[in-house]
Structure formats: C-alpha cells, structure tokens
C-alpha cells in the first residue's frame, strides 16, 4: 500500500455524529481551574523534605497521577483526561505562588488581556490554592541566578530584564523574584517537570523500560556504580540511583493511571445498555490494560499509548503544558499499514480515531500566571505534529498517515495542534495539493510549510551527529526544532532588537527608564548617513549580544545544577538516560550539541523599515533632519502628523522593492553575524538563532516609544519571523515571498512568513495548483517557513464585534494558531488590518 489514496482519505471529511457531539460539548463547556494537583503536589513535598530533588519531583508527579480523577466522555474512543472536567486547567502553585495569590485577591482567574470570560474555580479549590500558594510563597528562596549576575556585572545588569527595560525578553529574565514564572522561582527546592514527549517508550512499552532500569539497578548492586575518572562528569551513585528509582516510580504511575481507566471502562461497559457503546468500552478497557505498559499491537493501541504518555508529560507541568507530539505519521504508519493490510482497519475508521485523539489533545487546558499572559494566548500548548520529510536515503517519507492527520485536523478545525509539513523536492505535488485543501478548510494557518532541506542541513553541518539522526527532526514549541535523538531545551532567550535600535537612536540612553544602558555610540542628530545610524545600532547589538551570552553562561550553569529533574523525562529518553545515569538535559545524552543555547530575536522588520524611513526622508530626500525626526518620535508624533504619515508611507520591506529590501537583508544578515560571533558558552559549538514568533511582539511593544517606521508608542512591533509590517505589504504574495527569500534563512530556525490568501485565491483546482506552486517556489528560493491564513476581512471585523457568532474562527498569530475571539483586542485589530491578498 505504498500508493496514497488521496481521494478516499479526502472523502472522510464529514464529522461523525460521535465527534460532533464531543466537539459541541467541549465548545460549550466552561473552563475550570482544578486544584487537585495542588493538593497532591504540596502534600507530597511536605513528606519528602531532604530527599534529592529528582526523587521528590518524581514522587510528587506520581502522586498527582495517582490522585487524578477520571472521566470517560460518552462516545470517545481514546481516553485519558487531565481531570474530571471536560475543560479543566490543572494547576499547582509551587512555581508561581505570588501570581496565584494575586488572582485570588482579584477574586477570579480571569484572562486579563484577552477580555474573554474568566475561568471558573470552586470555593473549595480556591481555598486549596490559597493555602498552597501561601505555603510556597514563604519558601521562595534567594534568587541565586540574579545574585550571581549582580556579582558578575553589577546591579545595573538587572535593568536589562523583562520587568524593567526589557532589552532581554524571555521566561527567565526577571529582576523581581516574585514575577518569576515557569519554575524559576525555586528550582533548587522543587525541581521542574519539563519532560519532552517521545514515542520511543510507547513503542517498546513501559514494562520494557522498567526492566532496563531494574537491570541497571542490579548492576549497581553487583558491580558498584563505577564512579571513576573523570568523576565530575558523572553523576554520584546516589544521584544515579535516585534517578533510576524515579524512573520506576514514573513508569508505575502512568501504568497505574492507565489501569484505573481500564477498570472504569470495564465498569461502564457492564452498566452500558447500548450494545455498540458496550463494545467500544470493552475495547477501551482492553487498550488501557495493555498500553502504555506493553508495546502496542495495533493502530488503536498505539494512539492510546501516545495519549497516555503525552498527557502524563503535560500532567507534571505546573501551568503551561507544552509538549510536542513529533512525527506522528512516521510513528503510527507501521501500525496503520499492518492493520489495513490485515483487513482490521479501514482508512475511514483510522481518520475517526485520529479525530478522537485530536479531541483529547485539544481538551487540555492551561492557565498562565499573569506575567505570561501577554506572551501567548491562554490555552496555547504547542503540541506540534510534524509530518513528512526526507530520510537519509533521500526518499520522501510522506505516507497515507500524513494525509489522515491533515484530513482529521481540517475536519475538527481546532486551533491546536499545528501540523508542520517538511516540504521537499521529492514530495508528490498531489500531496501538497491535499495539504492546501486542508489548509483552506481549516482556515487557521494550519498546516505550516517548512523547508525540509534547510531543516536537515543545519544539523548535518554540526558534523558530529550521525547522518540518519540529522534527518529525523521535528518542531517543538513556537518555532523550535529538535532532533529525535536530542532534547531541545533552549529557545527562551530573546533580544528585543527594536529596543536596542531605540537605544542606538538615543546614544545608548533609554528614554523610558531614563537611564544609560548601552555604550555611547553617537548622537543621531549629528549623523550624516543612514549607514552611520546602522553602524551605531550594530555596536549596541554587539554589546548586548555579548552580555546575554555571559548572562546565559551563569544562568544555564545554575539551571543544569538545579532544574529539569523530571524522572518522566528520563523515561522518554530512557535509551540514553540509563546509560549515562543522568537526565538528558543534565548531560545524559549522546549529542550535547543539541542542548545548546538558542538565541532569539524579534523586530528586524521594524528596524529595517525604520532605517529605510531615515534613509529616504533624512538623507535622500532631505525632507527632515535627524534632529527633527528624533524629536518627533520622542513626542510620539504629536505635532508631527505630516512626518508621521511620510514615515508610514516610506518604502517598506515586503514589496519586492530593493530600496527597502536591501536594508532588510543587510540588517538581518548582520544581526546573525553579530549574534553568532560568540559560540554557545556551555558547549562551545555554534549556536542557533531563531525568530520566535509567539505573540510576544505585543509585549515587546509596551516598552518602546515611537519608531521611524511610523509605529506609535507602546503599539505592538511586527509579528515574528520575516513577515512584513502589517498592512504595508501591498504588492501581493509573490512580492512578499520574493522579499523574504532575499534574506539568508540558513542561520535561523523559526523564521516564519505569514501570508494571507482569501478563499477566492483557491476556489478552483487550477488555483489550488498555483498555491502549491507558490509554496514550492518559496521553499526552492530558500524560504524556511510559510504559513497561509485563509479568511476574509469582513469575517474578522464581524468576529471582532460579534464574537459569539465566530467561536470557530481560527487565526494564525506568529508561530501558532489561536481562536480569534480569544485574542487581545490589539491583536485582533492587527490581524484585521493585515493586508488581505485578495486580487
């Protein structure tokens, strides 16, 4: 069955009554904040004082699973709920107690920036959270990271943090320890669940993993731990034993959780009067009895096993439950193929089962602490699925499962997961057409199209990773990429480039904080050419790129020591974790170069367009002097309406116009060169740059004054990647793609280009083929990541004013999809204003 039956899979587009009912119930369900994990987690910690963090965390995570209430919804075929609510957000307060207390003081778990309805929380749960948070808030230890940073760079270093000037942006960069999130508050005390899902333990079954761990423990007993030279690169024997014991606890807890589901399904089957449903429940019981403990025997069991393991990795995360699902078409295809060939499974039922799986994945809710709210929309968990891609033999691995995944996603129209396609020259154009059709039906910028060649080449160029492994890469997070053989943990450090540019325009002085942060690089008013302005910016960037690298050395060293002690993570990476006796993120991996520093940046478009305005208006046309322009932006254009309009209408990147594009390309390439000048301070290898595209661009904007591209004070900067300034790419998608392809993607991962097409652009077979050609051409020209949004402006405007009628409307914001009505109003307006390429 090597030939894909596109028509048959495409024909599975009608949602079954089962899925319709499940989806409707979910759509209408209230979001609850559930405090059960809080009770389990804190209770466990109170009992385990003094034990190694890995063991403590493992025991607490296991207790969360043991105590989890179960729910099997009527009609569902894949089970494994976060809690007993259709939409319940599990939280425990240890990592951000202050933020929880702030919400409780406000009286609700509202969604501050999205202005949509607050999540509900029972009085009882509210009380439990309050008690837990009050316990943890007293235990917030001295912030060791900041203490070390102040020791090295002086107290002013903290001014660069996100909660001050925001030259550095990202999860860990907080001057105020109370504002820390995601476990940075007290890592040495509680450890941190940051397991990354992998199919591998599902494939072999947890029983097998348990056996391997036990064998290792036995070897320790009979042969000793062998703690020899070089001693300090190895774990101490007790650390290793604690890790191995943690793995056993983790395996047991997931197996027990599955068995409890088996019990529940059996009981429900006994009382079930509808014969069809009775049969289904019996099958569910048998699935849960078998996986993830054992290796799956068929497609249904494989999906169920993935569900348990992926959900378990989400369960142990405090707030955000981010975990990628990886290359599911490759993982599932052997089971699918065998079942279909044996006549046990039809493609139609395979689609329905996958839809059930997507439903479960989408049901997972999360609640973000207030400081994180603006970075991403609530409930965005990034369970990315990657499909297709060449293997080391040069063959495209697209299979029928790739189509099934796309078909199911287009039918269910969920905002997540995003499906990433590794587009390559061996790919059947018929498959891409199938994908574009799914894109059109789904509407929310899903699937996304990636350059398979570039994605692989970046890994090959390390020169130290076996070729076959380099071909086995997938996406994770918002526009991160990792190899299946190596965990990716970076991707949370960003330079706020427009902020650095603003400093350059002010000789290193921050007008907002009224403080000199950067070096003196000259007064804008005295500058005689655009190149001089650019040069000043590069000097500022060089200074801050150096500083963030040194910051990372300290920060990451302390994190390696203190964090990421999830034994479940060792289960996912059992193949190397057991051998090294270490968690992969602490060095238990064959390829530490994959655990390297990812330096993110955003805002190249804003800087390039600003420089273009300066070149055009100050130096070419000489309509204004630099002094006048500086005055205008410092006054946020007040009294400078004409200059403001001139700046808005100056040439802009994204129109295939060399005047603007040449500056964009130069700034982008120089940015890369400056940031890559220093190697990763931990491993010494070349580090990875990425243009993370989560909606942090909103956040970045809040610390910025007006910019010469016409942007006004505090407005969002442009969204991530290589997209053009919203509303100013007026020359159509080919021009935008041409502009973007001029830039060298090679040094970056995650440089997304958002293109908006209307339905009219693809309403015939012929036009679909043209859209396929558009994708192929962009990839061929060296573009890395393309996303196509499909909708019309009227629809969005209506959704802005009548959100109740547009609950299903999805949009693509930066690197992920979101429900349009859940977005902050500023972002809604931005998307409405984005050019609609409807010709």
């Amino acid at each position: 069955m090597s030939k894909i039956d596109y028509d048959r899979i495409w024909a599975c587009g009608e949602m079954s009554p089962r899925l319709q009912a499940l989806r409707d119930e979910w759509q209408d369900a209230d979001v609850y904040i559930c405090a059960d994990p809080e009770r389990s987690f804190t209770a466990s910690y109170k009992e385990t004082e003094g034990l190694p963090v890995s063991l403590r965390f493992g025991m607490a995570a296991a207790k969360i699973l043991d105590d989890t209430k179960l729910l099997i919804r009527d009609g569902e075929l894949i089970v494994g709920q976060m809690n007993d609510k259709v939409r319940g957000a599990d939280i425990f307060t240890a990592e951000c107690p202050q933020s929880v207390l702030n919400n409780i003081a406000r009286g609700s778990f509202d969604r501050k920036y999205s202005e949509t309805s607050a999540a509900l929380c029972t009085e009882e749960d509210m009380q439990a959270l309050k008690e837990g948070a009050e316990y943890w808030v007293k235990r917030v230890p001295v912030n060791k990271v900041n203490a070390a940073l102040v020791h090295e760079f002086g107290p002013d270093h903290l001014d660069l943090m996100q909660d001050r000037s925001m030259v550095f942006e990202g999860i860990p960069f907080r001057a105020d320890p109370e504002m820390s999130i995601w476990g940075r508050t007290c890592p040495e005390l509680i450890g941190r669940g940051r397991s990354s899902y992998r199919f591998e333990p599902c494939r072999v079954g947890l029983k097998k993993v348990t056996e391997l761990v036990q064998a290792e423990l036995e070897a320790m007993d009979t042969k000793g731990a062998g703690w020899m030279k070089p001693m300090y690169s190895r774990p101490t024997p007790w650390e290793k034993r604690a890790m191995l014991e943690g793995m056993l606890i983790a395996c047991d807890s997931v197996i027990n959780w599955a068995h409890r589901y088996a019990d529940l399904a059996e009981e429900m089957a006994k009382n079930e009067t509808r014969p069809e449903r009775k049969k289904e429940l019996e099958r569910i019981a048998s699935n849960c009895r078998w996986v993830p403990e054992n290796a799956p025997r068929d497609y249904w069991e494989a999906l169920q096993s993935i569900r348990f393991m992926h959900a378990a990795s989400q369960k142990e995360k405090t707030m955000r439950k981010e975990s990628a699902l990886n290359r599911m078409d490759q993982d599932l295809y052997p089971y699918y193929k065998a079942d279909v060939e044996a006549g046990k499974l039809t493609p139609e039922f395979a689609v329905e089962l996958f839809e059930c799986f997507l439903m479960k994945t989408r049901e997972v809710e999360a609640w973000d602490p207030e400081v994180a709210e603006m970075r991403h929309s609530q409930g965005t968990l990034l369970p990315d699925i990657t499909i297709c891609g060449k293997n080391e033999k040069g063959e495209d691995t697209t299979n029928e499962m790739s189509c099934i995944i796309l078909r199911a996603m287009a039918t269910m129209k969920f905002s997540e997961p995003t499906i990433y396609i590794r587009v390559n020259d061996k790919m059947d154009p018929e498959f891409l057409k199938f994908a574009v059709k799914a894109n059109m039906e789904h509407r929310g910028g899903c699937p996304a199209y990636l350059n398979d060649y570039l994605g692989t080449q970046k890994w090959l160029d390390y020169g130290t990773i076996p070729e076959a492994e380099c071909y086995n890469w997938q996406t994770s997070g918002c526009l991160g990429y990792h190899l299946n053989c190596g965990q990716h943990i970076g991707g949370f450090m960003h330079l706020n480039l427009p902020k650095i540019f603003e400093l350059a325009l002010h000789d290193g002085f921050d007008p907002r904080m009224q403080k000199q942060f950067g070096p003196h690089t000259g007064k804008f008013a005295d500058m005689k050419s655009e190149e001089e302005v650019e040069e000043a910016y590069y000097k500022q960037l060089d200074y801050f790129a150096d500083r963030i690298t040194k910051d990372f050395e300290i920060r990451h060293s302390l994190e390696i020591l203190n964090e990421l002690e999830s034994p479940l993570n060792c289960v996912f990476w059992y193949d190397t974790a057991i051998r090294f006796g270490m968690n992969p993120v602490r060095g238990g991996t064959d390829y530490p170069e994959t655990v390297t520093m990812w330096l993110g940046e955003r805002g190249t478009t804003d800087i390039a367009d600003s420089l273009t305005s300066i070149k055009k208006l100050c130096f070419d046309d000489k309509k204004y002097t630099p002094a006048q322009m500086l005055e205008a932006i410092d006054k946020n254009w007040e009294g400078y309406e004409e200059m403001h309009q001139d700046c808005l209408h100056a040439p802009k990147y994204g129109n295939d116009d060399a005047y603007a594009d040449d500056i964009f390309k130069r700034v982008a390439d120089n940015n890369a060169e400056i940031m890559l000048k220093r190697p990763d301070p931990i491993t010494g290898v070349k580090r990875v740059l990425f243009k993370g595209a989560a909606s942090a661009h909103l956040y970045f904007g809040t610390v910025l004054g007006a910019l010469p591209n016409g942007r006004v004070k505090n407005q969002p900067i442009n969204d991530g990647g290589v997209s053009a300034m919203a509303g100013y790419d007026t020359n159509g998608p080919t021009a935008l793609l041409n502009s973007a392809a001029k830039f060298n993607s090679y040094y970056y991962m995650g440089n997304v280009l958002n293109v908006k097409l209307s339905r009219e652009n693809m309403n015939t077979e012929d036009k679909l083929n043209k859209v396929v050609a558009l994708i192929q051409t962009y990839i061929k020209k060296g573009g890395f990541h393309l996303q196509i949004n499909i909708h019309d402006q009227e629809e969005l405007i209506d959704a802005r004013h009548n959100p109740e009628a547009h609950k299903d409307l999805l949009v693509r914001v930066g690197g992920y999809s979101a429900n349009f009505i859940d977005l902050p109003y500023t972002l809604q307006d931005e998307i409405i204003n984005r050019t609609n390429h409807n010709l």
């Binding site: 080919t734 050609a773 558009l774």
Partner: protein, 308 residues
C-alpha cells in the same frame, strides 16, 4: 518612433484569473469603448487623472486651499470633496500635499525596460506554473506601439505573453502586436452590431475582422463573454455566440470563459467622480450562470465560468 503616450495605471502581481499560471498584469490606460459595466473606470481615458480615496480622506481641506486651478471644493457627505475635472490639469499639487495619501494620480508614463524589470521579478512563479505577463487595460490596442514593445521585450526574454483585449483596432495596429502574443483573451460582448454599438459605442465589424486574423495566426485564442444582465444574457445572443464558437473551433480549439457581471469597481467611479449607471443591476444567480454554461457545454465547447 513610438507615437504612443506609454501610459499605464497599474501593475498587478499574483494574478490567477487572466491567463494560465501565476501572472503579472500590466494595465494600459485608455480605451475607445464606453461600456457602463466597466470595472476599471480609471482606465477609460488615456489622460492621467486624480483619484480621491474618500475612505482615507480626513477632510482637512489642504488640497482645496493649495490647488492652483481652484478645482477642488470641499462638499462634505460621503464623497467629502469634488474635483472640477475641467479645471484640473493634473499638476499633482494636491497629491503631493495630502499627508493621508487620500489623493493619487491614475496613470503614469512608464518605460518598457521598467515594466519588464517589474514583470521579470516573478519569473520563478511563471516557470513553475506556466504563467507570464498579461497586458490588459483599458484597451492595450489604444497604444499599439507601446503594447507591441512590451510584448516583444517579454517574449524575447522568454516570458509567456497574453493580452486581454476588446479587439477593437485597425488591422494595421492589430498586426503590430500579433506576432508577439502567445494567448489572446478576446472579448465577445455581443454579436448584434446594434446592441454592441448601443452599449460599447463602437461597431462590431473591426473586432470580428481582427478575430479572424488572430484565428489564422499561431496564437492561442480564448473567447471571453462578460455576461451583463439585460445586455447580452438573452438566449438569442448566447446561441449566436455558441454558433460563433462552433465556427471558430473548426479552425482551432477555442474555449469560452464566462465573466459574470460584478460591481467591485463601483467605488472607483466615486473616486474618479464618475456616475455609475448600473446601480440597480442584479448579479446573476449561480443557477442562471450554470444554465449559460450548459448552452456551450451541450454544444461540446469547453466553457470556464469565472467566479466573482
């Protein structure tokens, strides 16, 4: 040597509807026909003219105050201002001084090289999709030397050429472009000369004569029928068109494309201060359009319905 004014009013990328593949359309300004359903009213006169983007206008009155000809009056209401087109000499003072970019000039003189450079930017997309350049208008044959020069340059550089034409020109002028056209998108509005004259203001005969010339050439010919309610959508005309297509198909394969009437251009009538006379015209229903297509399909003629 060229006597034309070399005026275009737009270059549009990523066109999917005017010829095969992904194309770039170059719109030449000026048209001898006066069809009231015209979707590009700014294309009709070959002279440059001021367009007023009333939605962007802030009614600041700067343009009226600065106009050397005193041609602009602020009138308020939806239209916001009025331009006396008889007084206006298109000097551009108002355009230059409108900080909101609510005023623009339709029509610019352009060189063949500049046009080619712009067209050539999307060559990668033409290569994969079989696309190229399409000359449209206005009526490109109103500037035959200019049109021929653009087509020659593109064809010489290996870019597929297509023209969207009314076919209304002298045989001499038609012959100028003929060797450089790969595909004709040839309008056939009505086969009744009286009807044709009444609605378009020009006779049918030169159009049919040039069509014969195109049919005798190696170029591909596609017939386009802009389907206008009450003008040419009655059976008699559709049957006549069908019979004409059958006749043409004896020479070489010719398909018909039905372009349903739409009023997307109405805003541009306001912007150029023209009256839109078809305000009450109702667009065809999908059923009506299907019935029109069926007339051609039943006769074995390839028929493509454009979606509007």
């Amino acid at each position: 040597m060229m006597s034309d004014k070399n005026v275009i009013f737009d270059i549009q990328k990523f066109s999917m509807d005017d010829g095969p593949g992904i194309r770039t359309i170059v719109f030449l300004k000026g048209c001898p026909l006066k069809c009231p359903w015209c979707a590009n009213p700014e294309s009709q006169s070959i002279e440059p003219e001021i367009g007023h983007h009333y939605t962007l206008c802030q009614e600041c009155g700067k343009c009226a105050a600065l106009c050397p000809q005193h041609a602009i009056t602020m009138i308020g209401g939806d239209k916001k201002l009025h331009i006396d087109r008889d007084k206006c000499v298109v000097c551009g003072t108002c355009v230059k001084n409108c900080i909101y970019r609510a005023l623009s000039i339709y029509g610019r003189v352009e060189t063949v090289d500049n046009i080619y450079e712009e067209v050539n930017k999307d060559r990668d997309y033409y290569d994969v999709t079989g696309g190229g350049v399409t000359l449209s208008g206005g009526e490109l044959l109103a500037q035959p030397d200019f049109a021929a020069a653009i087509l020659t340059k593109c064809k010489d550089e290996g870019i597929n050429t297509c023209v969207e034409t009314t076919g209304y020109a002298t045989p001499e002028n038609f012959a100028k472009i003929l060797p450089y056209v790969d595909i004709f998108l040839y309008d056939m509005k009505s086969l009744d000369d009286a009807v044709h004259q009444k609605w378009t203001g020009v006779p049918l005969e030169p159009i049919l004569r040039n069509l014969d010339t195109a049919m005798a050439s190696p170029s591909e010919v596609v017939i386009r029928l802009p389907l206008i309610p009450g003008v040419n959508d009655y059976e008699e005309n559709l049957f006549a068109t069908r019979d004409k297509l059958l006749e043409l198909n004896k020479i070489k394969p010719v398909r018909i494309e039905i372009l349903p009437y739409h009023n997307y251009g109405e805003g541009k009538y306001v912007m150029t201060h023209r009256d839109y006379t078809l305000k009450d015209m109702k667009r065809h229903t999908p059923e009506q359009l299907a019935a029109v297509c069926k007339i051609f399909e039943d006769a074995g003629i390839e028929c493509v319905l454009h979606k509007s």
